[in-house]
Amino acid sequence: MAAQQATDPDAHIVVQDLTMAYGDFVIQHDLNFTIRRGEIFIVMGGSGCGKTTLLHHLIGLKQPARGRVLFDGISYWESGPEVQQRIKRSFGMSFQSGALWSSLTLAENVALPLDEYTDLGAAEIAEVVSLKLALVGLAGFEEFYPAEISGGMHKRAALARAMALDPEILFFDEPSAGLDPISSRRLDDLIMQLRDSLGTTIVVVTHELASIFSIGNNSVYLDPEARTITASGDPRMLRDTSTNPGVRYFLNRGET
């Protein structure tokens, strides 16, 4: 099955036989899945099943206990630091609580990666920063500090920072956590727009059912008991047709 995944021409990220562990404690084992280009891919599962840990493995923050993560066919952990750096540049990450640097203004938060990784001049960077902030609906908030804006704005500013370098892949950790339904819906719309307009591959870790059904077109379900993937595919299909009781239970909010 692994060989078949690797030959998929649209495959953007391929995870092969991934096992995640803290020391001897195995969180999830033998994960196999493929994320295709331009897909909105959902990693779902109940609290504590290892969703965020999986995300940390995908973005290169944690090394797998076993298995490989391939970006465009290149194995991240078997590459040298230069290749790793290049792969990392191709993605943006929006952390669970925003993780904006509190000593910098929103503009400086977005500008930092541009400053560091591009040859743009200060005026051009300022233009890009204004554009990115406008895209997430924060035009005019350039000079605000993270402590001065609301939680929903935090999330959106974090997204603007994640998009700073025009990433090919955007990772989201619980984008709707702590947001009201309307803000959460707006963020979902924004994610869809980005995928549709720029063709960005999007990986979302969430357990928010409304989000899962409205944006996801492929998914994996991490089962906390089996400690591996017990279902994958379009989440709406899984809800209605899956034969796995755990997945149906989860996707129907505990009603079977």
């Binding site: 640097w101 509190s102 000593s103 203004t105 591009t118 040859d119 743009l120 051009e124 233009e127 890009v128 204004s130 554009l131 990115k132 406008a134 895209l135 609906g137 924060l138 035009a139 005019g140 908030f141 350039e142 000079e143 605000f144 500090y145 993270p146 402590a147 025009d166 924004l190 727009q193 549709d196 307009s197 720029l198 063709g199």
Partner: protein, 375 residues
Amino acid sequence: MPGKLSIEFPSPDNLRLVLSGDWLLAGSRPRAGDIEQQLGTHAGSRSISFDGSGILQWDTGLLTFLAGVYRLAGRRNISIDPAGLPEGARRMMALAKAVPPREGADKHGNEAPLLQRVGEFALAMWQAAPEMLRFLGEIILSLGRLVRGKAQFRRSDLMLLIQDVGPHSLPIIALISFLVGIIVAYMGAVQLAQFGAQIYIANLVGLGMTREMGALMTAVIMAGRTGAAFAAQLGTMQVNEEIDAFRTLGFNPIDFLVLPRLLALVLIMPALVLYSDIVGITGGMFVAVTAFDISTFEYYQQTVRSMEWTHIWGGVFKGTVYAILIAFAGCLRGIQCGRSAQAVGEATTSAVVTSILFIVIAGAVLTILYQQLGI
């Protein structure tokens, strides 16, 4: 292939921008400002349209150009027809325009004049004084509750704090005190040796350590080590709303957080000062024995002869006063902390600076007081 722009005028009041090539942030591409002159010479243009069929690749580079064109058009009241743009770019521009910019965005931009800033600083300092007094008052009320046995805090917290404040700081206090003992001994020895009075190194080190240096050095170490830790810990609790959680559940954060810290430091400090005195005197002895030909026994005898209990208790009392000030400053800055990582850093810095300031002032006052009282 770099981005190229040419301008056509299909009709007198229309201006068409023909874009071709790669419009990438990393590559070279025209600026929105370039079309400004064209607009100047064709002042009759009322609308801008695009022909983007020649665009090969694009990213934010194209979008910033378009944002510039939109701004320009907005200033001159020219309408924009985005139909000719690539589908994705059109959508992104619509997204960027969806939420109007917030007014008054330059809130941090214009700095107040110098005089106003000086005035505001002075007022802020003036307001800080009552805040400090209020905190002091709350601590005294809390101590009152402690005496009546009504203060709410967990005994185990106090024990853990005592362990952290006491035994864990012994190594650093030992190192610093030993070196201070050596320094004092050497400084005095060079002068005393001229008169053949090396034996008085013992008096110098003994008095110096017990009356001043033991308490002062321990206090400075504790300000950096423990006062800063108090501020950082309470500050982070403030950021995480943990202090609000205490208040909501009816716990008094002063009782629960400040009181045990104050008690731990005040209870342990006398022992730390005595420890520092002994290690410092040992440092002096090390110098006297190795470099100035005095025997250990002689040095010991001389130290005992020169020592009076008032020197020791005077130093310990000073140390205890310092301990109160360190705990006060550390907890005050922690509780006052704002709600960001930046604020925690500021609180910690401020705690150490405030503690050292307090220590130095208190040290000077107490030394003069001792002199006047003949202690």
